[in-house]
């Protein structure tokens, strides 16, 4: 089925494009697949029809939005990818795994299709705290903690969510959370082109958030943060990623670290930080994560050559967690962990569940696991929040897993 291009070209204001190629030039996947967003825009302008089915490379886009950030003419190239994916979604012609993820979200509120009632299993060992937070949400709280799908269900990320809840508790914040009532934020849903489902989620979630009336919201994931902040229209709610909240509290002197990430007397851990696209490039949050790392005792922060606005995408966004793309061999995450290793870092710190999973996997594949450990900033915060906690790092990043 061919798409009539005229309407979409006009809706997306593709006529503003001057074909400079800055989008494709900066596209992290353009080097490894046939995806050429500049060329797609051109075809949208000069051809009357497009055979969207023939462009399977559309599923290679990670929605990192480097193209959007760099376009001199304010064209939003990634939005074309999303719209074209939308055409495929609408007619059901999507990779099977994308269909499964979308169905999981529709039925169970999460892309893995795990049971909705299991959504609070992340809080294992902290049941009391969870109940308190759920109660707080019911009664109306100042701060709403949105856990997110991956932190809720993925065993590797669950400790990050626990660390966050523990930290909120230690700080005595009036924090609430939704437990099994929480549903997927829809950030990746929109980017996979399923606009209808996204709008449904945004409406239902938005209503739920408003009913709680929290003035502040905080998320584990930059992806949830992005859509809540920029696409939900949550007027009057201050949506934050956890790195913003904690960096603010550190600056005010309210969050301090009694412990360290290394045992007393040992050299500091060399840590490098990978900017997640949804936090950095898309929301210009570059300094807060670094401010947290700088404040954690026992951390020596070093930078990779490509950092901040030039950070390399890990390839986990835009639905790519559920679709392999057309080039399995050359993963950007492989390149990224090698860049991290080059700095001499022992820890590659991240602030995003997707980055944590893709980069940790890459460390294993590249055989770097002896020298490089991938950790969420929250895990380091958690470690340094316990007195004499440094030794734990070698064994396990989270004490409560020992139980």
């Amino acid at each position: 089925m061919a798409l009539k291009t005229a309407k979409m070209a006009e809706q997306l204001e593709l006529f503003g494009c001057i074909q400079c190629g800055k989008c494709t030039g900066g596209c992290p996947v353009a080097r490894k697949t046939t995806l050429n967003i500049r060329s797609l825009i051109y075809h949208m302008l000069v051809d009357s029809d497009m055979d969207v089915d023939s462009h399977q490379e559309l599923w290679d886009c990670t929605a990192c939005f480097t193209c959007v950030e760099r376009c001199p003419k304010d064209v939003e190239p990634a939005e074309l990818v999303i719209s074209l994916r939308g055409e495929l979604v609408e007619s059901g012609r999507v990779p099977e795994t994308v269909g499964t993820a979308l169905m999981g979200i529709f039925r169970q509120g999460n892309p893995s299709g795990m049971a909705r009632q299991d959504r609070e299993l992340w809080a294992e060992g902290m049941e009391e705290s969870l109940e308190e937070a759920k109660q707080a949400a019911k009664e109306g709280c100042d701060l709403l903690y949105f856990v997110g799908c991956i932190p809720s269900y993925d065993q590797r990320i669950q400790p990050v969510a626990r660390a966050l809840l523990r930290t909120f508790e230690n700080l005595g914040l009036d924090v609430g959370t939704l437990g099994t009532e929480e549903s997927c934020c829809g950030n990746e849903v929109r980017r996979m082109g399923e606009v209808g489902l996204f709008e449904m989620l945004a409406e239902e979630n938005g209503e739920l958030f408003r009913s709680i009336g929290a003035g502040e919201m905080v998320t584990t994931s930059p992806h949830c943060f992005n859509t809540f902040k920029n696409e939900y229209g949550l007027d009057g709610v201050d949506v934050m990623h956890y790195t913003q909240l904690l960096a603010g509290l550190i600056e005010k002197g309210e969050l301090t670290f009694p412990g360290s990430v290394v045992p007393e007397g040992e050299d500091k851990k060399v840590v490098t930080y990978h900017d997640p696209c949804f936090l950095g490039k898309q929301n210009q949050i570059y300094e807060e994560p670094r401010a947290i790392l700088e404040a954690i005792p026992g951390v020596k922060l070093v930078e990779m050559d490509r950092n901040r606005e030039r950070s390399l995408c890990c390839e986990g966004g835009g639905g790519r967690m559920w679709v392999e793309g057309t080039n399995l061999e050359e993963r950007l995450a492989f390149q990224r962990v090698e860049e991290a290793a080059e700095t001499g870092a022992e820890i590659l710190a991240v602030a995003c569940p997707f980055c944590l999973l893709t980069l940790e996997d890459a460390v294993k594949v590249k055989g770097l696991d002896e020298q490089l450990q991938v950790m969420d900033i929250m895990e380091l915060v958690d470690l340094a929040s316990k007195e004499d906690s440094g030794a734990d790092l070698e064994a396990d990043s989270e004490a409560d897993l020992e139980a």
Binding site: G21, K22, G25, N36, E309
Partner: protein, 441 residues
């Protein structure tokens, strides 16, 4: 200077202000030429060669600088700023503030012994050399400065910033003429003029507004104006193209850095970058004959007399023009890598570089608001001064008898700037002649 005749004030002594001043002065009318910096010359003094003829910039500019310095009808007020302007009928009452140089310029011979002796020698960034070299706290911005008189930088001088400079003043001890005077204070000069020409010039966009090009991260990434200093035979490297002390083998030029980019707040074309980049490519070829030279471009705008011919010539000098705006620069070992899509190939490319030159956008000067307020002038949406009519009254402004010339009105090259300066001078002369005829001699 014949003070009884109606006079003109010119604000800014770059090539526009210099040319306008000479035209008016040569017609027999007095001109007050006010320049904020210690020397006249402006941006053109910083340039190496000029396109498309490749004339040495300072060789064609310096004689004009000397002329304004010596002209009997020009009162040159350097290191000075217009403090206030009051319009009273056809007359502007203008107050000029002469900033203290802490050097008596009637006495200073320009020998430079003071700068040699200065305790801060080699420790103060030279703005003229775009930070490539360092100077003393007492300085002339460049050897051809007019006037060739020394100035003490109040932000750098130990005595002026901390109240103490060792036991004695090094510069004062060294000066054979006794020109140094730390007691000097700002002086105010009141003049009445009938016409004003505003020629305050431009700034260049901060390249760090495009963080993807990593300016400030890698010393191998520089701006076009820095390249001018590097290429200038009287510049810090005596005209040798040296990056980290070595001749670059792979040189990449990036055009439209900030320009044509509403995203950056610079929607317009800066109009000079296409041609100066072609000139830079030519200069690299001349100085590093075996270099690989790549120019990345979105469009090539070679619209002036002799420009397309120059662009043709440069390509024949083995300069590769590749269509595509680079998206990012990063490091790979000792080399930089420029990421772009070669849109003609339709493929992403990675081009290695030892030197990347960014053609940064021309932007309105940061103090445009103050100047506009001082003179009651309007600005166009792009921030530059608003001409009365873009086509038919290009150098008039909303204020009668205030005219504009050069890059403070919009980006333009030297030929256009000089044309505008001459137009503004002619417009001002019309006012002065009329005023002279109205006033009995």
């Amino acid at each position: 200077m014949e003070r009884q005749k109606p006079a003109a004030l010119i604000v800014g002594a770059g090539i526009a202000g210099i040319q306008a001043a000479l035209d008016i002065a040569n017609a027999g009318f007095p001109v007050y030429l006010v320049e904020r910096e210690p020397s006249v010359g402006g941006r053109m003094a910083q340039l190496d060669k000029t396109f498309p003829t490749l004339d040495c910039s300072s060789c064609i500019l310096t004689p004009k600088m000397v002329d304004v310095g010596q002209h009997p009808n020009i009162e040159l007020m350097t290191y000075s700023e217009v403090e206030s302007v009051e319009k009273d009928g056809d007359v502007f009452h203008v107050r000029v503030r002469k900033k203290p140089r802490y050097v008596d310029i009637d006495v200073c011979k320009g020998c430079g012994d003071c700068a040699e002796a200065c305790r801060m020698k080699g420790r103060i960034t030279s703005d003229f050399d775009e930070g490539i070299t360092n100077r003393s706290a007492i300085y002339v911005p460049f050897p051809q400065a007019v006037p060739l008189k020394y100035t003490i930088d109040p932000d750098a001088c130990l005595y002026l910033t901390r109240g103490v400079c060792g036991r004695t003043f090094k510069c004062k001890d060294a000066c054979p003429a006794g020109a140094i005077d730390f007691e000097q204070e700002a002086e105010f000069v009141d003049v009445d003029v009938r016409a004003i020409i505003v020629a305050t010039g431009f700034d260049l966009i901060d390249p760090e507004t495009k963080p993807e090009y990593a300016y400030g991260v890698y010393p191998k990434v520089m701006t076009g104006i820095e390249f001018e200093r590097l290429s200038d035979a009287s510049g810090p490297t005596k005209g040798e193209i040296l990056v980290d002390g070595e001749k670059p083998q792979d040189v990449v030029f990036v055009k439209c850095v900030g320009s044509r980019d509403p995203h950056t707040g610079v929607p317009y074309c800066s109009r000079v970058c296409c041609m100066y980049t072609a000139k830079h490519a030519h200069l690299v070829r001349e100085k590093v004959p075996d270099a690989n030279i790549t120019v990345f471009y979105m469009d090539v705008r070679a619209f002036g007399k002799g420009y397309e011919e120059f662009y043709d010539r440069v390509r024949h000098e083995r300069v590769t023009y590749r269509r595509g705006e680079p998206s990012e620069i990063y490091r790979k070992g000792d080399k930089l890598v420029v990421l772009a899509e070669d849109t003609t190939l339709g493929e992403p490319v990675e081009v290695e570089a030892d030197l990347v030159v960014l053609a940064t956008a021309i932007v309105p000067r940061t103090d445009m608001t103050d100047v506009a307020e001082l003179l009651g002038m309007e600005r166009s949406p792009d921030g530059f001064f608003q001409e009365a009519d873009a086509k038919l009254r290009p150098v008039d402004t909303n204020v009668e008898n205030i005219f504009v010339a050069g890059c403070c009105q919009s980006p333009k090259d030297i030929p256009d700037t000089v044309s505008e300066a001459k137009a503004a001078a002619s417009s001002a002369l019309r006012v002065l002649v009329r005023a002279r005829e109205a006033v009995p001699a």
